[in-house]
């Protein structure tokens, strides 16, 4: 990190004002960082530069030097003379350089943009009323900002293939395509699945899949995100809702320990889509398709929607009373979850302490793809280590718990989220044990449980996860949970307090963080709001040396 402090800066004059930028910064990014804008379509900060849309044309000049002596030439006022390039240059292929002068809004630049917009709109169909991109379309935005406002084109527009399925999750409309090639570069450079390309020439240029191939990799929906127009649209989100109705809330993907930063788009309590949020330390601007589909869990058929005792619907109070009966004065086992948030794990740790329960945990693993899907398929295993819920890496399954149950060492179980029968606990052992299940979806364990305590999904509660790089990241509640279900924090706090006969409080993430920052020096000085939208890298100390299952991926590099 010490390198970033010593970053060299260069001074660039943008529209007459001197600004200092880090050396090597792209001009489009540099101008964006001072709150101004160079409009662009094909440039993307995480992809290679091609410079084919010509929208980012600017005027550029450098201080003139005497050819013989190399000394700076000065004008009458004693200021350096600027040699402006005779023609505009594209901003995206320009790196900031010392003394560089840039005009982003001169008459010539405005003329250039106007001309580029007119050419782009010549063959662009009037599909805005039926186009999913409307409302977040760069072409729409720049047409109003920089376009002429009416069309001079009287000939027939080009006809190209429409409504083409180029993959299981992506639709292509070639008439809308402005040939920026972002999707092609993404497939090639990030997803390592080179399936897209242009065919034909001139105004007949058409985006298409290579013969016999499909855009079906697990990152295909990122092409939809980066498409500046409505050429690539998501089949899942297709015609579901206009984006201007949707509310965006920052969240974290729970698919794997990568912890991709996401935005959850919802309207009136219904989630319509999940998109990645830029975080250069975690996921750049990408996320997996499978991670996006997880929003469907919030409205899944098997969602647990009511408290139940012995299979009969009950009230929160009755369910808590029945749970206490199972927790108190028995040989208790607690099955913790790496899907629980840091705050919930911290509260669960309190229950463990007061009940002296044995803690079991499963290490959910799957195949990683080396990009943004890691081998650890839970978002918060490192949180469980940091809160002290577990002190070493858990086993892949719960056979230890099964053995303990077979040996009759435990009378009752408090299970958070996990499905025990899928993790190697036999049905017989489950049946003879008193089980309290707290989770979001019904499974074999919730069927067998005496007490079922429904909880909220990641979209409905607030909290934080610690990802593969020990980065604490917060997620916010995007939609309200099902009616009458208490938050996980309230549930765990109520259990923890009542087990020792205290009066339960109503905790929120902030109050839990107050205790958390005292309990573990790793969290000292931090609070929920302090995590910010980008998260905070923690210093885990010796925990980082544990043999985690993750292998190298986009932002993880094990030593």
């Amino acid at each position: 990190m010490s390198e970033t402090k010593q970053l060299e800066t260069v001074t660039v004059n943008v529209d007459g004002v001197e600004h200092a930028f880090p050396k090597g910064m792209n001009l489009v990014d540099a101008v964006a960082s001072i709150g101004s804008e160079i409009p662009h379509y094909c440039y993307h900060p995480k992809l290679s530069v091609v410079g084919n849309c010509r929208m980012c044309l600017i005027e550029m000049g450098m201080p003139m030097r005497d050819r013989a002596t190399g000394e700076a030439l000065l004008d009458a006022d004693g200021k350096p003379k600027i040699g402006w390039m005779p023609k505009p240059a594209i901003g995206c292929a320009t790196t900031v350089a010392p003394g560089m002068h840039v005009k982003t809004n001169s008459p010539l630049v405005r003329d250039c943009r106007n001309g580029v917009m007119e050419f782009l709109l010549i063959n662009h169909p009037l599909d805005c009323p039926i186009c999913d991109q409307a409302g977040e379309c760069r072409l729409q935005e720049f047409a109003t900002d920089y376009g002429r406002g009416y069309s001079r084109y009287t000939e027939a527009k080009n006809v190209k293939p429409k409504r083409t399925r180029i993959g299981p999750r992506v639709m292509l409309d070639d008439e809308r395509c402005i040939l920026c090639s972002r999707c092609i570069r993404f497939s090639k450079e990030i997803a390592n699945d080179d399936v897209l390309g242009f065919i034909d020439r001139g105004s007949y240029s058409t985006l298409t899949c290579f013969p016999g191939k499909q855009l079906e990799n697990n990152y295909s929906l990122n092409t939809v995100d980066i498409c500046p127009v409505g050429a690539l649209t998501s089949t899942d989100f297709r015609f579901k809702m206009r984006v201007w109705f949707l509310k965006q809330v920052d969240s974290i993907c729970t698919e794997s320990s990568v912890g991709a930063n996401t935005e959850v788009w919802s309207r009136e309590g219904k989630i319509y889509r999940v998109t990645p949020r830029r975080n250069d330390e975690v996921n750049d601007t990408w996320m997996t398709d499978s991670g996006r589909a997880l929003y469907q869990l919030a409205e899944a058929e098997n969602r647990l929607l009511r408290y139940a005792v012995d299979g009969q619907p009950s009230s929160f109070e009755a369910a808590i009373a029945a749970s206490l009966d199972a927790l108190k004065g028995r040989r208790l086992g607690i099955v913790a979850s790496a899907h629980a948030s840091l705050e919930e794990q911290f509260l669960l740790k309190r229950i463990v302490e007061v009940t002296r329960a044995r803690v079991f945990m499963a290490y959910h693993q799957g195949e990683g793809d080396g990009i943004l899907l890691s081998e650890d398929r839970s978002p918060n295993l490192r949180g469980a280590l940091l809160t002290g819920l577990i002190d070493s890496l858990p086993a892949v399954d719960l056979s230890a718990l099964d053995q303990a149950l077979t040996a009759g060492e435990l009378d009752s179980l408090l299970v958070i989220h996990e499905d025990l029968s899928a993790l190697g606990v036999s049905a017989d052992n489950l049946a003879k044990t008193k089980v309290v299940f707290a989770g979001t979806h019904s499974n074999a364990t919730s069927e067998a449980a005496q007490v079922v305590l429904p909880t909220l999904t990641v979209f409905e509660r607030a909290g934080s996860f610690v990802n593969q790089n020990f980065r604490a990241q917060r997620f916010k509640s995007a939609v309200p949970g099902p009616q009458g279900i208490a938050s996980d924090l309230t549930l765990l706090e109520t259990l923890a307090a009542l087990v020792v006969g205290e009066t339960p409080t109503h905790p929120d993430v902030n109050t839990v963080w107050q205790s958390l920052s005292v309990a573990n020096p790793v969290f000292a000085g931090l609070d929920y709001n302090g995590l910010g939208s980008m998260g905070v890298a923690l210093e885990p100390g010796p925990l980082a040396e544990l043999p985690f299952v993750e292998t190298r991926n986009l932002k993880y590099n094990p030593r």
Binding site: V159, K162, Y204, F239, M241, R242
Partner: protein
Amino acid sequence: MAKTKVLERKPLSLAERTYLPQIVTGLKTTLVNMLRPSVTLQYPEERPVIPENYRGVPTLVKDPNGREKCVSCQLCEFVCPPKAIRITPGEIADDADTAHVEKAPKEFDINMLRCIYCGLCEEVCPEEAIFLQDVFSVSGYSREEMINNKQKLYELGGTLPDRHRKWDKKKAAELQGAAHH
């Protein structure tokens, strides 16, 4: 202290005392109005003539081919000040005649208890599919009855001439195909 000004009360003239001129003036007014054409309508048996640009109940219209013009872009839902409009967008089946339009409303509800007849929905519609026409009187026995669903809206709207034929042209171009292939 406000000053009071005492006005002198003039005695009535002879004409005023007889009261006859006033009666004659009144009779004249009555006579003039008797001879004028009647403007009273025997509502509801008689109905007023509704002007062309009248803002009555919002309706959905079809084009002369019988195609529903609405493509559920939801701009009217967005612009509606009292939030009376509620649309569920849907997709047109691939084998339909109008498959090239791609999108049509699955459900389209206008809550006439909320509607304020402002006409913004008609003004914003990019497809000229919603019109405030000549129906001005709506009533019902329940709140549900007062919500016009898609079927009711098309019954009220009927068919209006289409000056642009945007989608017909689009289909013709699509059938003709790209010139270079």
